[in-house]
């Protein structure tokens, strides 16, 4: 016992400061829970506290990120077990985007639900709790921690989907979500237990090189394959990739609209970045050992085909929907498919030595996707509040009944399709360029699928536009709440700016964040090119094995 205590590792103050954003989020949760004891229950107060906490988290994330971005990477973990909690550029970027989006969601709550809300405290505890889980999901390479973070993100999500207790649809949606979620988490855990059995550790940075060695030499390939497929299944559930998507349209239709908005971006984004991190650990280890692996090609094809089927299925299913919320739920499945394509490219051995353009493309896509989804869902929310209906017919003549909403909705929808001059086009363009620069059969197949799907998606997005401008059944016009119009138009203008004036800026930022990625590398890892303009010349940027292992991430990156 005494030896255990002596060997216990405690984080230093500086370590803790690096994780100030997460701590701020936890602190906000505590304040949210204790304030009602002092001043009584008030939904508005809870909303304000949540807003302040989220903005503080955002500012802290940016401040900490400034210090982290060019070299100051770190992990909060006992030195021997790196990867328990990681601070690197990926987590910083994700935290900033997620908190921005969470702030938007809270604004949406103020616009739509604040006046009728009975249980604001509980709502925000659940909302921020799931946000904390998603932040942790992207910030770890420890398999147990990954599972705990996924559960932390999922459990509040199940509850928040069924938050309206007397809504039959919501009750059903939350049950479906909870059962699918529980099963997929259990299946993923089984995969984790198999990996633990093979390698006797849960730390992915230690597992990856040995796993790659095993794959190259043909040891345990069957067990490894099963374990990887099970873990991938658990993550694919969170992304709502086909064939793990069944919960998604139901949960999104049954939930409140601000919850749908939140889940449609955040849960997919977090799981995608987690997948990217795992895939990078594997392909990085493969690159370090200089082996070209058929198994990793197999993994790339599995993810790639999943991505292709996901976006095709999402787009075709969306076409038949009459409920706009459900339609946007299918569209979110399709967009998750586009982003998943980048993960597939990343696993492709041909791209192992290349730059980080797939990651950068995903980061840009996430930002743009968050903005356009927030805009589109806000319009649906405002229309549903004014007319009491979420069906497509509620949008008839919206262009006349509420011109400001109509124009902004068109901009968001065109951006969702991926047409110029909006941000959605630029995001998709970077994605396709990243695919194209990798080459190979899989990438060209994915490009074809992405372009074809863009054409298909045109039809169902323009059904909404058609309803708004071509069908007018003389319904009375309504005055939408000013904050709602402001939020929608803010999103639309942001999309326009991203597509016209600031085309390069998000990409440059994302490049910067994507390049200097991942805190702790397995020993013997081959460093990728760091300099933005040096092209692909791995020979100049090789970190020797002894150098990489003797120094921690930060100093290795600071060269």
């Amino acid at each position: 016992m005494t030896s255990l205590l002596a060997s216990m590792w405690l984080p230093s103050g500086e370590d803790l400061i690096r994780f100030a954003p997460e701590l701020a989020l936890v602190g906000t949760l505590a304040v949210l829970l204790t304030v009602p004891l002092v001043i009584g229950r008030s939904s508005i107060v809870a909303g304000r506290i949540a807003m302040v906490g989220v903005v503080a988290t955002l500012l802290l994330a940016i401040t900490v990120g400034r210090r982290a971005i060019d070299g100051g990477l770190s992990g909060l973990a006992p030195p021997a077990a790196g990867g328990m909690l990681i601070l690197d550029n990926l987590t910083v970027y994700f935290k900033a985007v997620l908190m921005l989006f969470l702030a938007g969601t809270i604004v949406l709550w103020f616009i739509i639900s604040a006046d009728t809300e009975q249980h604001g405290t509980e709502f925000f505890v659940l909302l921020l709790g799931s946000a904390l889980g998603m932040v942790l999901m992207t910030a770890t390479l420890n398999l147990l921690m990954i599972v705990v973070a996924i559960e932390l993100a999922s459990l509040p999500s199940y509850a928040i989907v069924g938050f309206d207790k007397h809504n039959r649809k919501a009750a059903e949606a939350s049950l479906k979500y909870a059962i699918f979620g529980a099963v997929s988490a259990a299946i993923m855990l089984y995969g984790v237990s198999l990996i633990y059995g093979l390698y006797h550790t849960l730390n992915m940075t230690e597992i990856a090189p040995r796993l790659v060695t095993h794959l190259a030499s043909g040891h345990n390939v069957f067990t490894i394959g099963i374990a990887l497929v099970l873990v991938l299944g658990g993550i694919a559930f969170k992304i709502a990739a086909v064939p793990f998507h069944f919960w998604c349209p139901d949960a999104f239709e049954g939930a409140r609209i601000e919850v749908t908005t939140w889940l449609s971006v955040s849960s997919k984004a977090a799981a995608l970045l987690l997948l990217l991190r795992l895939v990078d650990a594997l392909s990085g280890a493969a690159a370090a050992q200089g082996v070209v692996l058929n198994a990793l090609t197999g993994l790339a094809w599995v993810i790639g085909l999943m991505a292709a089927v996901t976006c095709t299925w999402g787009n075709f299913a969306a076409y038949r929907q009459d409920n706009v919320k459900r339609l946007l739920a299918y569209s979110s499945i399709a967009h998750a498919g586009y982003m998943l394509m980048a993960a597939a490219v990343f696993a492709h051995p041909a791209s192992v030595r290349a730059d980080h353009s797939p990651i950068a493309a995903v980061l840009v896509y996430l930002l743009v996707y968050a903005v356009m989804n927030l805009g589109a869902f806000t319009v649906v929310a405002v229309v549903a509040k004014a007319t009491g209906s979420e069906s497509l017919s509620a949008f008839n003549g919206l262009g006349r009944r509420s011109p400001w909403l109509g124009v902004a909705m068109v901009m968001c929808l065109v951006s969702l399709v991926g047409l110029p001059p909006f941000g959605g086009f630029i995001a998709k363009l970077w994605l396709l360029l990243a695919l194209g620069s990798q080459g190979g059969t899989l990438c060209w197949l994915l490009i074809l699928v992405a372009v074809g799907n863009t054409l298909i998606s045109l039809f169902f997005y323009f059904r909404i536009v058609r309803a708004m401008y071509l069908f007018d059944d003389r319904q009375p016009s309504f005055s939408a709440p000013v904050p709602g119009i402001a939020l929608v138009n803010l999103c639309a203008v942001a999309l326009l700016l991203l597509g016209v004036l600031f085309i390069n800026r998000p990409k440059l930022i994302a490049d910067r964040y994507a390049r200097n990625l991942f805190a702790q590398r397995p020993a013997g890892f081959v460093q990728r090119p760091l300099d933005r303009n040096d092209g692909i010349d791995p020979g100049t940027a090789v970190v020797r094995a002894d150098e990489a292992s003797s120094t921690d991430g930060p100093s290795a990156k600071r060269r």
Partner: protein, 104 residues
Amino acid sequence: MFTVGLTHYLVLAAAVFCCGLFVMMTKRNAIGILIGVELLLNSVNINLVAFDRYRPIGGTDGQISALFVIVLAAAEAAVAVAICMNLYSNLNTIDVDRGDALHG
């Protein structure tokens, strides 16, 4: 004399896992499905503890993970049962086939 080794535990865990999957797929009662999920999680626990017991070098990662899994299972069950209660108060049944307001 018959000795119990790692393989036996793994076979047991796999059997429990398959039972869990079977229960989960055949039961129409929401509580029944949750029991299936518990079986799945417990098969994970058997795996983790067995791997830990038979690992060549010392360490307790597996046992600690098993503790975490137990806590996760409890938390998940709490939320899922609350959701079942909510469904019951809305539909007067927890038969998942009767929930047909959404077409998934």
